[in-house]
């Protein structure tokens, strides 16, 4: 809401400075969002008197003026305005002044060879109106040399944000009331212009929809004369950012902005028969003031006459029955529309208006009759006419809320001591009635008050939140206890392990384009937004890989050499009972050059599937997964290269991770060059460690390094070409669980000396003697066992 200081002072008798008012508004919860001071814009413009006007020697349409600025010698100004003449007073901008309408700084200049010191201004140039036909003409009593801003009495404009719970402050008067309660001055009584009502209202006014429109007050005024509204009103409306239209329209806007009271004025000539509020008929259409047609349904309330719908109740009037310049007789409407229904109707129609904002938050039910009389009085005062008696159809809510208040609650909830007397004064000044036993009756306009806590808020905000002292939270004895859950500890550790292994942590959108999301999952039952911000952000991700691929693509497009990124976040699936099933996941994408071309290694090296495997195992290890027991299996998914990808499983069904090279078709779909490696760790699949707390849980199993030195023995086997190396290793390791502590592949070879369909795998086996060193005979026996185990897989020891 915007309003000028002058307007505020219409309602608030105060000596407070602008800054004091701003501070008070902030302190009581009416947040000041901005203050504009038009006088700053008009700095450098002053009232000046035109002494002489002569034709410009070189230009037909220009004149050379001699202007008295109120000090020193007259200055010479070249002016093109047809109304510039000797003896007039106008507004002179001196060099250095900035023209408000275009931001140009005035300079001393020669115009067609004649020097001009400044500019005589039009209303449009000073942003004071549309008039640009001539320069501003000031009245004769304007004092030459005075600042034009002072002459204009331009008033600072304050913009406040009104929270949805305070519809009573959606008018300047309500803001003045709050400020008065905060001790900033005295609230002035509303000036009600007097008028004589005579005769019954000639139109039948009623409400047929007591739920949607419990009250409809109105009257007819005949023989009004529409036209422009007076300057004082125009100035106020402009300060609120409202364009003046015509007196009758401006008056309804004034009533709304000054008192938070929406109203409507109909052209009586355009009405047929009775006027009344009723439920809309489903499918009924109305052409609203914004020249758009809306289709209504039966939950909505309309104002209608016997022939047609006139407007959407509480939201917007109709186009056809509004007042025009030649309107003669009018019907005034001051109604009470149900807040909840107004909100629903507005949302359904997608129509946000000033009226809706007020009705859906709740207008003051006590200000219908008074509002009608105020509007009537202002119309008769400014536009003439003869008002009929008022009609009060229906009745607005009238049951005041009574709250049993315990003043000690202010201390208990607000943490601040406020005396009972002060609490009473504050509440009373805000319009609450406080009985001796602290039964507090709330003013009807304060529909936000639900209980005692709301009264504490009223007391504390007026008393001053700045008076609330900090009080330490009680804390437990000793050092703070650990708070992280096992899941949080896992994620923290994993995140730092990933970064420690050279990956950059990225955070990408939780949503993906639909086709991308679908490409990355086997299920078609994904979460799809009804109202995505764009098609690229429509579906909740079922995998972390695509978001990282998109990042890698952006990086490649920017010329990045390598992208090594990971993200720790959630995948989103549908769970039981319509709830979401969000699974903690870690994704890795390795794209571009693993090693750039270099003096030592020559050509650039790309990432390969073993880089992905290393990342997967390192991170699973960090996550506490039993990596030694994992099985390398297939079925990483369609998004991966079928021959260069795998899953890591704990048991045949529990997939802990997938890794490998991204499928060329996937890369093509992302418009990326390969090769690109990717990893996805499914953290929800990692078995939780048994929770153990207490001092004993820190101790590890006892261990002493063996005293005797381990020995190694090498074995080279010829095996079928399709035998998985891991199978051979497992069988070798398992052949003597006592003596063999490790076995690793150190060479794989096909080619000369190896028959077709076979490959050679060389394995180094580590043997750990326990009590005493191995004898040759023992070593031979172990070797035989190893070879025997390998032979069962079709392996043959090479000579």
């Amino acid at each position: 809401m915007k309003f000028s200081l002058t307007w505020l002072k219409d309602h608030l008798e105060t000596e407070a400075s602008l800054q004091e008012i701003i501070d008070a508004l902030n302190a009581i919860g009416l947040e000041v969002e901005g203050v504009e001071d038009p006088s700053e814009l008009l700095a450098g413009f002053r009232v000046a008197y035109v002494l002489t006007a002569a034709k410009h020697p070189d230009a037909d349409k220009l004149q050379v003026l001699s202007v008295d600025t109120g000090e020193g010698d007259p200055v010479q100004v070249v002016c093109g305005a047809p109304n510039a003449r000797a003896g007039m007073k106008g507004v002179l901008g001196l060099p250095g002044a900035v023209v408000p309408s275009n931001g140009m700084e005035l300079r001393k200049a020669a115009i067609r060879g004649v020097e001009s010191t400044g500019m005589m201004c039009s209303a449009r140039e000073l942003d004071l109106g549309e008039d640009h036909d001539g320069i501003i003409e000031l009245p004769e009593d304007a004092s030459v040399g005075h600042s034009f801003a002072d002459f204009q009495a331009s008033s600072p404009i304050i913009e406040v944000a009104i929270t949805p719970n305070r519809p009573d402050c959606m008018g300047v008067y309500g803001i003045a009331r709050d400020l008065a309660a905060a001790g900033l001055g005295t609230l002035k009584p509303i000036a009600l212009p007097k008028f004589e009502a005579s005769g019954a209202c000639p139109v039948d006014i009623r409400t047929d929809d007591a739920k949607g429109c419990p009250a409809f007050f109105g009257r007819v005024i005949k023989d009004v004369k529409n036209g422009p509204s007076p300057d004082w009103m125009q100035a106020r409306l402009k300060s609120a950012g409202q364009k003046p239209i015509s007196l009758l329209v401006d008056l309804t806007n004034y009533l709304m902005l000054a008192f938070g009271r929406p109203s409507h004025v109909y052209d009586l000539a355009k009405l047929e028969g009775a006027i009344f509020a009723r439920s809309a008929v489903a499918g009924e259409e109305v052409l609203a003031l914004n020249e758009k047609t809306y289709t209504l349904d039966e939950t909505m309330t309309v104002i209608a006459d016997d022939a047609k719908v006139l407007g959407i109740g509480g939201i917007m009037g109709g186009e056809d029955t509004g007042v025009q310049d030649d309107t003669k007789d009018v019907l005034l409407e001051i109604a009470y529309f149900d807040p909840a229904r107004s909100g629903v109707t507005g949302r359904k129609l997608g129509l946000a208006t000033d009226a809706r904002t007020r009705f859906e938050r709740g207008v003051d039910p006590e200000f219908l009759g008074q509002g009608l009389d105020l509007l009537t009085g202002l119309i008769t005062q400014l536009a003439g006419g003869s008002p009929s008696e008022a009609v009060h159809a229906g009745s607005p809510p009238s049951e005041a809320k009574v709250v049993a208040f315990d003043t000690a609650l202010t201390k208990r909830l607000g943490g601040v001591d406020v005396s009972d007397d002060e609490q009473r004064t504050i509440l009373t000044s805000l319009g609450f009635e406080v009985a001796g036993d602290w039964q507090v009756t709330c003013p009807l306009r304060r529909n936000d008050i639900e209980g005692p806590a709301d009264l504490v808020e009223e007391v504390v905000r007026i008393h001053g939140l700045d008076k609330v002292e900090s009080v330490p939270l009680p804390r437990v004895d000793g050092v703070a206890r650990p708070t992280a859950s096992p899941q949080q500890m896992l994620e923290r550790k994993l995140r730092r392990a990933a970064a420690g292994s050279g990956l950059d942590e990225a955070i990408t959108w939780s949503f993906l384009p639909e086709d991308v999301a679908e490409h990355f999952t086997a299920t078609d039952d994904l979460w799809k937004l009804s109202n995505p911000i764009s098609e690229d952000m429509k579906v909740m991700r079922p995998s972390l890989v695509p978001g990282l691929l998109l990042a890698a693509k952006r990086n490649a497009d920017r010329g990045a050499g390598a992208t090594r990124v990971f993200e720790l976040g959630r995948r989103y699936f549908k769970g039981k009972g319509g709830a979401s099933d969000e699974r903690a996941t870690l994704g890795v994408v390795l794209a571009g050059e693993k090693t750039a071309r270099g003096w030592a290694n020559g050509k650039a090296v790309s990432f390969d599937a073993y880089d992905a495997k290393a990342a997967a195992l390192t991170l699973l290890e960090a996550a506490g997964a039993p990596t030694a027991r994992l099985m390398v299996m297939g079925e990483a998914g369609d998004q991966f290269h079928p021959g260069q990808s795998a899953t890591l499983r704990l048991g045949p069904k529990n997939v802990l991770a997938r890794f490998g090279m991204v499928h060329p078709a996937t890369l093509k779909a992302f418009d990326m060059d390969g090769p690109v490696a990717a990893v996805e760790l499914f953290l929800d699949a990692i078995p939780a460690k048994k929770a153990s707390r207490g001092p004993a849980s820190f101790a590890r199993p006892s261990f002493t390094p063996p005293a005797l030195q381990a020995v190694t023995r090498d074995f080279a086997f010829l095996v079928p070409a399709d035998l998985a190396a891991e199978d051979l290793l497992k069988s070798v390791r398992g052949s003597d669980k006592v003596n063999i502590t490790a076995a690793r592949v150190f060479d794989v070879f096909t080619g000369e000396g190896v028959p077709d369909g076979q490959k050679s795998i060389a394995i180094e086996v580590t043997l750990q003697p326990q009590e005493k060193s191995f004898k040759d005979k023992e070593l031979k026996a172990i070797a035989d066992t190893v070879v025997g185990a390998a032979t069962k897989l079709g392996a043959e020891l090479r000579g």
Binding site: A27, G414, L473, A551, V565, G578
Partner: protein, 366 residues
């Protein structure tokens, strides 16, 4: 004896002239070897009379010593030269670059979340989480925003067409506040927690992204009041920004889920084009900046969460994590947070070894 002297002179000359270890060895064998001339000379001593021997022995020994010393010296000289020659051939250009060791990084949002967890753990707060895809009961209704509440419309909510089993509309949570409800329902009171996480609003411009991060704070106990809220936020910001001159301004505001509701501003000044938190907002060169919303938990919310509102009361607050990260570490573009650009991540990200701790301070200085 002159023969011996001549032999010695010749040998010393040959030793000195030796250019390699082989030539030197030849001299050693020739002189000191079993059949070398020194050895032969020593053998003659046995045939001499004691007197002759007395005279000849020292002389021969002296020659032997002289020759052996010369050989050793020459040997050392030749070995040094050989080593130098080897070094010369093995010298490499160490100004050439070493292999790259990729440096990973932690995203500022994660770092700040860890900082939050660390600071609040010291105050006895645990970290709670909840689903990002929520139902409207947890996101709105239980937070005292029923269907017709005007504040709902102000939330720019992303909706799904799906309904939960109980008919509730599914949506992307617009704030972390539903975690309050879930945590209170699960744990009851008293409770102290923070709930950091992703939240979503259908809003996108230079300073808003449709996804961002928030942290919720909640304390419910028997006698918690606004003074505790103020202290908690002050204490947090002092620890987070590592400065004692943090000044908060509480302003009355409105949130359906708190009553009274309080907007929290912090004093700051501008240094260059950067906002620096600290000092009183009304001091010269300073101003106030909105940091987040807070207040005393509305009794209705407590009741929705199954807490006895006659016995318990408490406060809640919400802060933008991205925003406080930007204030602390100087980023100015929120959109870059979600781009995954390694250049940005390397500049604004953190070393994995910078795990926030209270003893080292929860902030990382460049």
């Amino acid at each position: 004896m002159t023969e011996l002297t001549d032999q010695k002179q010749a040998a010393l000359a040959a030793i000195s002239a030796a250019t390699n270890l082989d030539a030197l060895e030849e001299q050693r064998v020739g002189a000191l070897g079993k059949k070398g001339w020194v050895s032969l000379a020593l053998k003659t001593l046995g045939q001499m009379s004691p007197d002759e021997r007395k005279e000849a022995a020292p002389a021969i020994q002296a020659v032997r010593g002289e020759v052996a010393e010369a050989i050793d010296a020459k040997k050392a000289e030749l070995e040094t030269a050989a080593l130098e020659a080897q070094f010369a051939s093995e010298t490499i250009d160490l100004t050439l670059p070493a292999p790259d060791q990729p440096k990973g990084s932690i995203h500022p949002v994660s770092q700040v979340m860890d900082e939050l967890a660390e600071i609040f753990a010291d105050l006895g707060f645990s970290v709670a989480t909840g689903p990002e895809i929520e139902d409207d009961w947890h996101n709105f209704t239980a937070l005292n925003m029923d269907e017709s509440h005007p504040a709902r419309a102000m939330h720019d909510t992303f909706y799904f067409p799906d309904k939960a089993e109980d008919g509730a509309s599914m949506l992307l949570r617009t704030h972390t506040s539903p975690v309050q409800i879930r945590s209170m329902k699960a744990q009851g009171a008293p409770i102290r927690l923070i709930a950091p996480g992703r939240v979503y609003r259908s809003d996108s411009d230079a300073t808003h992204t449709p996804m961002f991060h928030q942290v919720e704070g909640l304390v419910v106990d028997e006698d918690i009041h606004l003074g505790h809220l103020k202290w908690t936020l002050e204490t947090f910001f002092k620890a987070f920004f590592e400065r004692e001159d943090i000044v908060l301004r509480l302003r009355p505001s409105y949130f359906p889920f708190t009553e009274p509701s309080v907007e929290v501003d912090v004093g700051y000044s501008n240094e260059g084009d950067r906002r620096v938190v600290g000092g009183h907002g009304d001091a010269p060169g300073h101003d106030w900046m909105e940091l987040g919303g807070s207040g005393m938990v509305n009794a209705r919310v407590l009741e929705f969460a199954g807490i006895d509102a006659d016995k318990y009361q408490g406060f809640a607050f919400g802060l933008g994590i991205d925003r406080i990260a930007m204030l602390k570490y100087g980023m100015n573009d929120l959109r870059a947070f979600f781009d995954g650009d390694p250049r940005w991540l390397n500049h604004y990200g953190f070393s994995p070894y910078d795990q926030p701790t209270l003893s080292a301070g929860v902030g990382v200085r460049p």
